[in-house]
């Protein structure tokens, strides 16, 4: 019986068991989206211009596509107009483009929908808990975004006369001052574009410093086996031979082994502190002193600075160089894989060798930006330039905004809450999963578990994929290498206790299933936009660009 004349009445859903597939392949809010090459064409544009192209005369290879087809590979053919009275000739010489490019366009509404649909197939911090160990996936405040977009920062050119960009240099200097002060270091190289670029910067400073004192023969860099892969890759790139230093049973650098290896051939050690097992290297100062006594330098991978910001200054531990991932500790967005930013703080011994442009503390205490033309007087030992212009300015404005928001007191609280959250996870789960270094003391910002105790044939990846079905982004898997089936969980300080509690319940449940050998985990995730993807196929027959199906077949 109807409630009103329209025939409407409240309905309760009727269960019909497993739903069948849909005609479109879409499932309500889960919408499939084709490639732009399949839905666009080369004649469509989503941009209106307020001028028609005024060049039609001699030497102009044809501007606007005239007869493009839906097949973007064939695209437009040039249609040069006859020479016209009063029309300017092009200055392209013989190089005017004649061949089609094959770039599909979409109207603006289609473009917005295309990328909005794609975005919904992504997991992000905004959506939920993203405990990727060593990556520091903390909340990205939108104030940072707003400040970076102020025209005074977003709409200035890197080569404008310096007196027209004093505010931008002010941002760099102010951030540099914070980074130097927070780390207790002497100078900072602001330009490195990411963490690994920062590592390279630090190692190049070390190499330049050694060469300056006639010790270029030091060719060995010691790297703990728990290090990020970028550390040995960086050292090798800088021309060094990499030697592994073992870890102790408690998950720290084997200090005795490291000290025993020091000698006249060792250029540097690269240590991550807090380390990738989530532990603070208690002997850091002892190691630094010994390395210095042996004539080497200490590089610290600062990826995990979030655990100690405001509580410990790396300069007090004898560090010579450390990169700071602004996209980790200082909340600039990860953006689906960059852009990052990796300023490098330097000790007094290394600061003279830092790259250009360089920000350093002058004798009177103020900070100054030095470029090529003044380098000869002010910074004669610089090893040179690492990138065009001034580094990741857009990240500097975001990071400074974040730092000012927290202040010295808030940043200290950041480290404390990050460490508290990680220890809470460690102690809440160490009876469910094996915590190989659970007895090594408190962890810092991340909790490490192994896959020991899972049923035969089950591994960390199955736990990770099970967590996807539970609505979480998985932890870091199989890193660090020193732990079998490592699961590295970094909650960060921006998670509430309620969020942690829900995650703990979920991980316990998934881990128990893996321990019990629940085969449904082997095919997880079941509820994601895709099930497990064939990475072997992707690598064996790489398809890296889209090709029109007919052309692709013809090629085979």
């Amino acid at each position: 019986m109807s409630i009103n004349a329209s025939g409407w009445r409240p309905e309760a859903p009727i269960s019909v068991g497993k739903t069948s597939s849909t005609t479109t392949g879409n499932k309500a809010l889960m919408l499939e989206e084709a490639l732009i090459f399949e839905i666009g064409d080369t004649t469509t544009t989503g941009v209106d211009f307020d001028q028609a192209p005024p060049l039609q005369g001699r030497g102009w290879g044809g501007a606007v596509p005239q007869n493009a087809t839906a097949d973007s590979r064939r695209g437009p053919t040039p249609n040069p107009s006859p020479e016209g009275e009063g029309l300017k000739d092009s200055r392209l010489g013989t190089l005017a483009r004649t061949a089609p490019i094959g770039l599909p366009g979409l109207s603006e509404p289609e473009t917005v929908r295309h990328y909005t649909r794609l975005s919904r197939q992504n997991y992000g911090i905004d959506l939920g808990f993203f405990p990727l160990g060593s990556c520091t996936m903390k909340h990205n405040p939108r104030l940072n975004e707003k400040m970076a977009r102020l025209p005074g920062f977003a709409d200035i050119h890197p080569l404008q006369p310096v007196d027209t960009v004093q505010g931008a240099l002010g941002v760099i200097n102010e951030l540099a001052n914070w980074l130097i002060t927070l780390t207790g270091m002497y100078g900072v190289a602001m330009t490195p574009k990411a963490g690994a670029h920062g590592e390279l910067c630090g190692m190049l400073c070390i190499k330049a410093a050694l060469e300056a004192r006639g010790e270029g023969h030091r060719k060995v860099v010691l790297v703990p086996e728990s290090a990020h892969g970028t550390n040995p890759a960086t050292a090798a790139f800088a021309g060094y031979t990499v030697e592994d230093i073992p870890a102790t049973a408690e998950g720290r650098v084997d200090t005795a082994a490291l000290l025993a290896r020091l000698g006249p051939d060792v250029a540097a050690v690269m240590i991550t502190n807090p380390n990738t097992c989530g532990l603070f290297e208690r002997d850091m100062k002892v190691i630094s002193d010994a390395v210095h006594a042996a004539g080497g330098f200490v590089y610290c991978d600062g990826a995990n600075f979030n655990a100690i910001v405001g509580r410990v200054r790396p300069g007090d531990l004898g560090i010579d160089a450390m990169h700071i991932n602004l996209h980790k500790t200082f909340s600039t967005p990860h953006g689906g894989g960059g852009p990052g930013s990796g300023p490098v703080v330097l000790s007094e011994a290394l600061a003279p060798f830092g790259p250009l442009p360089f920000t350093a503390r002058m004798a009177d205490g103020h900070l100054q930006l030095i470029e090529e033309e003044t380098a000869g007087d002010e910074h004669p030992h610089s090893f040179g330039r690492m990138c065009a212009f001034h580094g990741q300015m857009g990240m500097f404005t975001r990071a400074l905004t974040y730092i000012l928001s927290h202040g010295a007191d808030g940043l200290r609280q950041v480290a404390e809450d990050a460490v508290l959250n990680a220890n809470y996870i460690l102690r809440s789960l160490d009876t469910t999963l094996e915590a190989p270094f659970g007895t090594s003391g408190p962890c810092m910002h991340e909790a490490l578990f192994s896959d020991n105790g899972l049923a035969e044939g089950f591994s960390t990846i199955d736990v990770a994929k099970g967590l996807i079905d539970e609505g979480f982004h998985p932890m870091t898997m199989y890193f660090p290498l020193v732990v079998h089936g490592a699961m590295l969980i970094e909650p960060t300080e921006t998670e509430s206790k309620a969020a942690l509690d829900q995650f703990i319940v979920a991980l316990r449940s998934v881990a128990e299933r893996a321990k019990a050998g629940d085969v449904s985990l082997k095919s997880a995730p079941h509820f994601a936009p895709r099930s497990r993807l064939d990475e072997t196929l992707a690598a064996r027959k790489p398809v890296l660009v889209w090709k029109d199906p007919d052309l692709a077949q013809a090629a085979e």
Binding site: L35, S90, I101, M137, L143, G337, E372, F389, R530
Partner: protein, 452 residues
């Protein structure tokens, strides 16, 4: 503090679960001498959103922005109009706050976008394949030189005098540490590029020739003879494009048989941002793909047979190969690549070609107008949207004086090549769709006054 959800009762309860009394107990492994007992002295304390906004806005106001008046700077960073929807889309939280797509089942948005980006870039540069982006054009350029060394097993790279001096500096820095020999020189203030000299310099020890197109002075030259000369000696041709919009109007380097084409993608979607973050473009011939640095996205199938995308060929990369990796690169410029890709999708081929046509036409008109000013000579007969003028006096002070009048007149070669007297009177002027005829007129009349 607005970014910290834990309450004090939460903290106390959690310490209880952990089994310690205070937060300090969790930092016991820090040596006592290194423990700070309170907020670091001399730094400000936390601040409200409004207070931070006020502080940052005050800094921003000290800068003269490109949009405030006539603006003509280029040389590796260009002012283009970016449609509003680009910035909206890249601020979708699912793009902005995602990580590198290591869990592909829940990162198909980023991965499909990267696959589209790779295809757009490859087609634009005229290469078979392209990667998922590099830090910027200058680092992409260096990585290309390193890649050429790996492929040819030779250690001498010849850099054109028309290559952006910052890119040259980056290559020089890196070469010091890898032992590559670089041949470099400063450009001459003339119509002719150094292609003939480059061709003459190639020998059996040459790994690659690096040439910018259009070059730092804006000149464009046919790269085919250079490519042929490289290949005759089994060297590679690396072309560098700092203004991708140009490829809407001129032949791509790939069409002229360049082996590796790198570029700066900033012009599309990214904006000026005082030099960064930008997005490096990197494409090459298919046969060299396994020597390519950086991330690659590839197509594959999921367990149910549906098309999907993953990061692939990662055995080149540092997290697998450690010290034997092709590069230490661990990141790309994902969000800037997205901005580039969205802008390119909005333009499409028709839009890109129209945009390029407008840029070129504006530059031609501006060059002709400025060349009429007494004391101004047009150095570059062919160009896309950027050309070089020779002034009757040193350009750098002129640029400074014009800035005081609110005109950002271009990049003086004195800024880029300090101490090179022969270039001191050079001024590189860029004209894009954002430049109006009134802007050009303002520059012309101001120049006329100053040079009189």
């Amino acid at each position: 503090m607005r970014y910290l959800p834990l309450t004090q009762p939460d903290r106390d309860a959690m310490l209880g679960v952990i089994g310690v009394a205070t937060i300090d107990d969790l930092f016991v492994d820090v040596p006592e001498a290194a423990r700070l007992d309170g907020p670091i002295h001399g730094l400000p304390m936390h601040a409200s959103e409004m207070a931070v906004e006020r502080h940052m806005s005050a800094l921003a106001r000290k800068n003269l922005t490109a949009g405030q008046g006539p603006f003509f700077l280029g040389c590796g960073a260009y002012k283009h109009h970016v449609p509003a929807s680009v910035d909206h889309l890249i601020q979708r939280g699912e793009f902005l706050t995602a990580y590198t797509p290591y869990q592909p089942e829940i990162a198909q948005g980023t991965l499909q976008m990267l696959f589209e980006f790779q295809t757009q870039v490859a087609r634009l540069l005229g290469t078979d394949v392209a990667n998922a982006s590099m830090y910027d054009g200058s680092t992409a350029c260096w990585e290309a030189i390193g890649m050429a060394r790996r492929i040819t097993k030779r250690g001498k790279a010849i850099l054109s005098s028309g290559l952006h001096p910052h890119y040259v500096s980056v290559a020089k820095t890196m070469a010091k540490f890898t032992g590559d020999a670089l041949e470099t020189s400063a450009p001459t203030l003339s119509a002719d590029t150094d292609l003939d000299a480059l061709i003459a310099a190639i020998d059996k020890d040459t790994s690659c020739v690096v040439v910018q197109y259009p070059d730092i002075l804006g000149r464009i030259a046919d790269l085919k003879p250079l490519a042929d000369a490289c290949h005759a000696q089994k060297a590679l041709l690396i072309a560098v494009v700092t203004e991708p919009v140009a490829l809407g109007a001129i032949k791509s380097p790939g069409e002229m048989d360049a082996d590796i084409v790198v570029g700066e993608g900033q012009s599309l979607g990214v904006g000026l941002q005082f030099g960064g973050p930008y997005v490096g473009l990197f494409g090459c011939k298919e046969k060299y793909v396994r020597q390519m640095p950086g991330r690659l996205c590839g197509e594959t199938l999921d367990a149910d047979g549906r098309r999907g995308f993953v990061l692939t060929l990662s055995t080149r990369e540092q997290h697998i190969r450690r010290e034997k990796a092709t590069s230490n690169i661990c990141t790309n410029s994902g969000l800037c690549a997205l901005a580039f890709s969205v802008h390119m999708t909005l333009l499409g081929e028709a839009g890109l070609r129209q945009l390029a046509a407008i840029n070129h036409a504006g530059a031609v008109a501006a060059a002709e107008r400025l060349a009429q000013v007494p004391g101004v000579e047009l150095v570059t007969p062919t160009f896309f949207n950027e050309f070089t003028l020779k002034l009757s006096q040193e350009a750098r002070p002129v640029v400074r004086t014009l800035a005081d009048r609110g005109i950002l007149a271009g990049v003086s070669l004195g800024r880029l090549y300090p101490g090179v007297g022969a270039l001191a009177n050079g001024l590189v002027v860029a004209v894009t769709e954002t430049t109006s005829a009134e802007d050009v007129e303002a520059l012309a009349s101001a120049l006329q006054e100053i040079l009189a």
